[in-house]
Amino acid sequence: MDNLILEIKELNHAYGESDIIIEDLSFNISIGERVSILGPSGCGKSTLLRLIAGLEKPNSGEIIKKAEVMTSHEIFIPPEKRNVGLVVQEKALFPHLTVYENICFGIRRNKDKNKIVSDLLELLKIDSLKNKHPHEISGGEQQRVALARSLAPTPDLLMLDEPFSALDEELRKTLYEEVSEVFSEKNSSILLVTHDAYEAEVMTDKQLRMENGKLI
């Protein structure tokens, strides 16, 4: 069990009494493993990531990261203390900050922040954009910045919620390859949710299927 980065145990979540989103969900992710959850829109994939991130509280079940309970009936660790990253389709870049400042945001107190940011800028091929604001760069570039920002604090687990679905197909394919290389280089543990089977296959080692809040 020591090599597990994430354990999900009998997770249940519903909005109200009848609107069941997640039902008795259990699975594990090992350190350095890249797992994807495939499923149609509305099957509960995004909610699952939000529960793992601590952005919502489940009705029952446990979320354990590196053998430490993050969420249970008694325990709830707030999102800022979980050390997990989440990249969403919306990107959520801070519009008043430059690319450099966005990436730096989560590592402001780190002595080596300049080096970390420079390395990420180079790795994701966005070093020429560092002084630009989010509205001055393209959608694909914004997504690279969002990825760099999430990678900067070296999260134990990086979660991706259909990160490239707003981009055109050609750009998506380029990014699949480039981002996969980045993950390999960093030996990141990844949980990707998507409805695109090709994306899941290219970017992850293990694919799980989800329907109506359950793994099938």
């Binding site: 991130a53 952005l55 999102p79 800022e80 801070f94 519009p95």
Partner: protein, 542 residues
């Protein structure tokens, strides 16, 4: 001769006379005030310069810094709490937080002194409850700089609350979530992310508050704080030196002009919001227990100090005189106030309608610029307008009616022009938005049917703009009713309004008598608040 007449008619019919008249009306008092800087400087000026000018600058500076800090805290924290959390009373607080805007600072200042003076109601109550001796004073002296800072902050914070709330609503939920995942707790998200993102809007709100604070006369006069406005008033009415008063007014006008420019520029850049098509609206977090209590208090305390205390105290005073306030004098002052404000409201609404129609009917850059210029009038303090207007009326009396007694000086005419300059922006904003709702194709159809010019204005636009016209009249009325310094200076001899009578009673420490006119001012001041609260309710996300 015929050609000359034709040319003259052409000029009139092409709507060019109106903007020219507007330009002269608007700029004359300000040009007169500013031109005083080029005139001679009397001994009084040298005296002021040597002994009190620095005091005016210092007091004004301390006052605006104190008020700016406090409104920044109250305005942004309440807006953040309302936008992000659900708790008991939230739906009421959402609009009730702007209620203090209906209380002019001078009225809050009067109620504060009535309450917290050594022998005021609050200290009397403490002495009674705890059986303390008569010389025991529990509450600190409010007739001080601290008291003034509190009074201005708790009446003017809604400016910052309104802009902050509107900016916070437009912040994407996922941006806040991203910052939580990057290590910020909820408090840090507020001051490290949300606040910097809405900075331009907040700065614009704070600048408005600073302009209002610097323009005030009634509250600082009551608290005996030496600021520019009290200095101008005393120089004029104490030293009888209008020229020096105008020179002081020029300095204040320049300072306010700087704040106005900052406000204008920052408002232009206030779009730090997500323009992403996948924008996810803010989700409110349900609060329970202690956290809900804290949120409740954060929103309740500003309303309690800025609205409930003055209303309760004024009602108590009015009750103490057993409806004795409802006498001939009160009725005549109320009629004077309503006639003046209604007259100004109709003039402003008519002028705004004409100017906007002129811009729409025959687009003209000059008229557009002049309309914007006239809208700047709201930033000019009433006292400065009054100083300039008095001098303008004296000039006009000298040149136009040299053989007669004084005609324009001290007449309703000058007072109403000052009001129009001060409140045109309110009428214009309502008419402008009214015109945005009338499609251009309606104009084209009416033209094809042979209706154009005045007929289009009277038969098509005016009926469609009924609500906008009514709104603009009401907005102007509520502002005119509150205006103190311009009314105090420009009113005809023995002509009193509710604001003047409140001021007069309060300056004679006759608070019980001041209550009724003050309540009447607050009730009329609630009109724009009702409009604003409707807008706030309709602006809720989801």
């Amino acid at each position: 001769m015929q050609r000359f007449l034709n040319l003259k008619l052409n000029i009139i019919s092409s709507w060019r006379l109106l903007p020219l008249a507007v330009l002269i009306i608007f700029t004359a008092p300000l040009v007169i005030v500013l031109s005083s800087l080029l005139g001679s400087y009397s001994d009084n000026w040298l005296h002021l310069y040597e002994f009190v000018l620095l005091d005016y600058v210092n007091s004004s500076l301390i006052l605006v810094i104190g008020v700016a800090i406090l409104v920044l805290i109250i305005g942004t924290v309440t807006a953040w709490t309302i936008t992000n959390y659900n708790f008991i009373g939230k739906n009421i607080f959402e609009w009730a937080l702007i209620l203090p805007l209906s209380i002019p600072p001078y009225i809050l200042a009067y109620t504060f002194t009535g309450l917290f003076d050594p022998y005021g109601d609050a200290n009397n109550l403490i002495r009674y409850l705890f059986d303390l001796s008569n010389d025991y004073v529990f509450f600190p002296n409010v007739r001080s700089m601290y008291g003034a800072i509190i009074v201005f902050s708790f009446t003017l914070y809604p400016y910052v609350y309104l802009v902050s709330r509107s900016a916070l609503i437009n912040q994407s939920k996922s941006m806040k979530e991203a910052s939580r995942l990057l290590g910020l707790n909820q408090v840090q998200v507020f001051y490290k992310l949300a606040l910097p993102m809405i900075r331009p809007a907040v700065i614009a709100g704070v600048m408005l508050v600073i302009m209002e604070t610097l323009s005030d006369f009634g509250a600082v006069d009551h608290f005996a704080i030496e600021t520019f406005t009290t200095g101008i008033f005393r120089t004029w009415y104490g030293l009888y030196d209008l020229q020096t008063a105008m020179q002081l007014a020029s300095l204040l006008l320049i300072i306010i002009g700087v704040f106005y420019l900052i406000e204008k520029n920052t408002r232009g850049g206030s779009i730090y919001t997500s323009n992403n098509s996948n924008f996810s609206p803010n989700l409110e977090e349900d609060l329970q227990g202690f956290k809900a209590l804290v949120a409740f208090l954060i929103c309740f305390i500003p309303i309690f100090i800025g609205f409930i205390i003055p209303i309760v105290e004024l009602s108590f005073w009015a009750y103490e005189v057993n409806l004795g306030f409802f006498n001939d004098k009160f009725v005549s002052n109320a009629i004077n106030t309503l006639s003046l404000s209604l007259g100004t409201g109709i003039i402003c609404a008519g002028l705004a309608l004409l100017i906007n129609f002129s811009i729409r009917f025959k687009p003209n850059k000059l008229v557009e610029k002049l309309s914007s210029l006239l809208s700047l009038g709201y930033a000019v303090p009433g006292l400065i307008l009054a100083v300039g207007m008095v001098q303008l009326m004296v000039y006009l009396d000298t040149f136009l009616f040299s053989g007669l007694d004084i005609v324009l000086t001290g007449s309703i005419f000058g007072l109403m022009i000052a009001y129009v300059i001060k409140t045109y922006a309110l009428a214009n904003s309502s008419i402008e938005s009214g015109y945005q709702r009338i499609s251009n194709s309606m104009d084209e159809s009416s033209r094809l049917l042979g209706i154009s010019g005045w007929r289009m204005l009277i038969n098509i636009h005016s009926p469609l703009m009924k609500t906008a016209l009514l709104t603009s009249v009401l907005l102007v009325m509520s502002d005119v009713v509150k205006e103190l310094p311009a009314t105090l200076i420009l009113r005809p001899f023995n002509f009193e309004t509710l604001a003047v009578s409140t001021y007069t009673y309060a300056s004679e420490e006759r608070m019980l008598q001041a209550a009724a006119p003050a309540i009447a001012i607050v009730i009329i001041g609630l009109i724009p608040i009702i409009f604003l609260s409707k807008m706030i309710r309709s602006s809720r996300p989801n």
